[in-house]
Amino acid sequence: MTKTRRNLILNCASLVVLFGILWLFQEYGTEYQIRILNNIAVFITLAVSYNLVNGICGQLHLGPNAFITIGAYTSALLTMSPTEKQMSFIIKPLIWPLSVIQVPFWISLIMAGTVATVFAFFISFPVFRVRGDYLAIVTLGFGEVVRVLCNALQSVTNGPLGLKGLKPYTNLWWSWSIAIFTIIVIQRLINSSWGRAMKAIRENEIAAQAMGVDPFKHLMMAFLISAFFSGVAGGLLAHLITTISPTLFTFFLTFNLLIIIVVGGLGSTTGAVIGATLFAWGGEALRVVESPMDIGPIHIPGIPGMRMVLFSVILMVVIIFARRGITGRNEFSWDWLLGKLSFGSR
């Protein structure tokens, strides 16, 4: 049996196992568990696509919240029923074509990704004119500009009142299928000649250019693909929490994503997946520190806010002691796992 064939079989088998587990949760799990699993999947999609620009291309891009916002609003406006829209837009009515359109969920997701990609295309010209920290601040700027526009354009976004009453279309199947699809597409891209060129740009842009790699073309490619999946994930997120408003998409969302991919291991898709899982699940697990506790005879009253203090401390400790994140730049591979297993059995 060749290695490729073995890996293919193992991949398929693990997919079956994953969906088996998801099915079990769908059937027997509580709504709370399902919600966390959905959050994990959405954050995996966001982190993996974000990692493409930051980790693989090495550009400090701080504006994924722009794409998520655009995706979320596009998708939400397309799936809401005209009556729901009419009821929600109590200050200024929604502008015409949007007020009557209603499309199925999957079309709205594709549109979410597409609109985000188109936006990414237009901003990629100013963005990739600069590099390094200047690129960081420009992308951060675009993220803020989009949020400000969402607040101001009341006849499109309902301003700060936000949109509500979205149908909870996002379920385990949607969120995890998209997460896995994102991982596969981005992994294939990374392992293609495009991906190698992107890594070359990360390591040394001038050298890469000398070798005939067009930095702008490759960076834009990564940027657009990242934007597409971020947009789709935004649509998923909107239909998971069923209401959106501009406050959801501040630069804190970007910071959270950045924390996820750096703690996971910058430049590693595996790291992004682990980081996203830890973030979405860990935030809930840490809640125990805020509830009143009885450890033996000692009673500790709950201190609200301790969770965030502990989160910051853990974050700093992890980054100081594991400065390349949990996985570093390594990827998960079956060879590695089997090697570990056979070592253990020997």
């Binding site: 709370y32 109590i90 929490i241 125990v288 506790m293 609200p304 002691f321």
Partner: protein, 376 residues
């Protein structure tokens, strides 16, 4: 593989936390969940409401002869967390009813979940009309924006005899945008004129540019239905610039900090509110205000009072329902009539929105002074 080792240690630690430290647990209690922003951008509101809730809980710790346990869950002022929080309260803590959230956007993220689980929820301060719209199990203790905006407009026209109004809107808050828009509609309908509309944003600290525009328009009144932090700073800068027309604002301004921060500048600031110490007619209000002032050594604020009312409404409904069944509590809640709450006499109207009278207060000599009451 240093990283991997750390990851292992971390996950073992987390598992330890989850296994060995079990939350305090007592049998035979009624659990009421509260999901509030204790951290994050609007932590101040969450913390104020939690203060009020604790007083309310001390005042009435029992229902149906059983002890009530309040379970607080933080939302980090975030929608995703708010949804998680409600889900957690229902599934893990098995609460019978829910209080929260402090702001409308997060309440709209929490409501669909409690709605699906048939658990009644009462938000203390989510004023956006959309919050309870079309929801059977969602209630609130506060006014909705259209009502408060209209009352403010009527007060400005009839009582303050204002013809020209300048409106200053905090664009980042749905509460302020809502109030201002309904104020403008009603004010124009009553024959007034809006001479200037300017925008600020939560967290902004410099309003001199907007205020100069207001000054140039020469209004009779400034309607600035924003939260007390912005209002206090704005009033200060307005007076520094020499703008001396009355400022009218909403219930978000009723906090001791308004006077502490604003000082002399907030003198003669009017606001639509739920209650005033002097005009407090209900026994509950008197007791609440006394306890609040004894414990926190400051004036009772609207946030805490409304949170307390959310709690009292629920306890009252549980008593009347004689059960902790979600649907029964909901029906009792919906049929609440003339409930003598902290923030006034409450009758539950359509859509889970309370009908209650508006009190208009103003600041005089560094104190909140009662002006008048407007009945619905």
């Amino acid at each position: 593989m240093k990283g991997i080792r750390w990851f292992k240690i971390l996950s073992v630690l987390m598992a330890l936390c989850a296994c060995f430290v079990s939350p305090a647990f007592a049998e035979d209690v009624i659990k009421i969940g509260a999901y509030l922003p204790m951290t994050g951008a609007v932590a101040a509101y969450g913390q104020m409401e939690w203060n009020g809730l604790q007083i309310a809980h001390e005042m009435r710790p029992k229902a149906l002869g059983k002890e009530i346990k309040l379970v607080l869950v933080d939302t980090k002022s975030d929608k995703i967390e708010a949804a998680n929080a409600v889900s957690r309260l229902i599934e893990k803590e098995k609460v019978v009813a829910i209080i929260g959230e402090a702001i409308s956007g997060n309440t709209m993220a929490g409501n669909p979940i409690s709605e699906a689980a048939k658990i009644p929820s009462v938000s203390p301060t989510a004023t956006n009309p959309l919050v309870t719209q079309g929801k059977k199990y969602a209630f609130r203790a506060c006014f909705i924006d259209p009502f408060q905006g209209q009352v403010a407009a009527r007060f400005a026209r009839d009582h303050l005899k204002a013809k020209k109004a300048a409106v200053i809107i905090d664009i980042a808050q749905d509460y302020c945008v809502g109030l201002a828009n309904f104020f403008v509609k009603e004010f124009v309908k009553l024959g007034g004129q809006v001479v200037s509309t300017t925008y600020i944003q939560t967290g902004d600290q410099d309003f001199t540019a907007q205020l100069s525009a207001v000054q140039a328009a020469n209004p009779d009144i400034i309607y600035a239905p924003n939260y007390y932090t912005e209002d206090a700073l704005m009033a200060k800068q307005a007076r520094d610039l020499g703008i001396n027309v009355p400022i009218l604002t909403g219930d978000g301004a009723q906090a001791d900090e308004l006077i502490k921060i604003g000082g002399k500048a907030v003198e003669n600031m009017y606001f639509t509110a739920h209650f005033h110490k002097k005009a407090a007619t209900t026994e509950l209000a008197k007791e609440y205000i006394k306890k609040f002032e004894a414990k926190y050594k400051k004036e009772a604020d609207a946030f805490g009072a409304l949170a307390a009312d959310a709690y009292f409404l629920l306890v009252d409904a549980i008593e009347r329902a004689g059960s902790t069944d979600g649907t029964k509590i909901r029906d009792a809640l919906a049929s609440t009539k003339n409930f003598q709450g902290v923030s006034g006499v409450i009758t539950m109207g359509e859509n889970g929105n309370p009908i209650k009278s508006v009190v208009i207060n103003k600041v005089e000599d560094g104190k909140f002074v009662y002006v008048t009451t407007v009945n619905p």
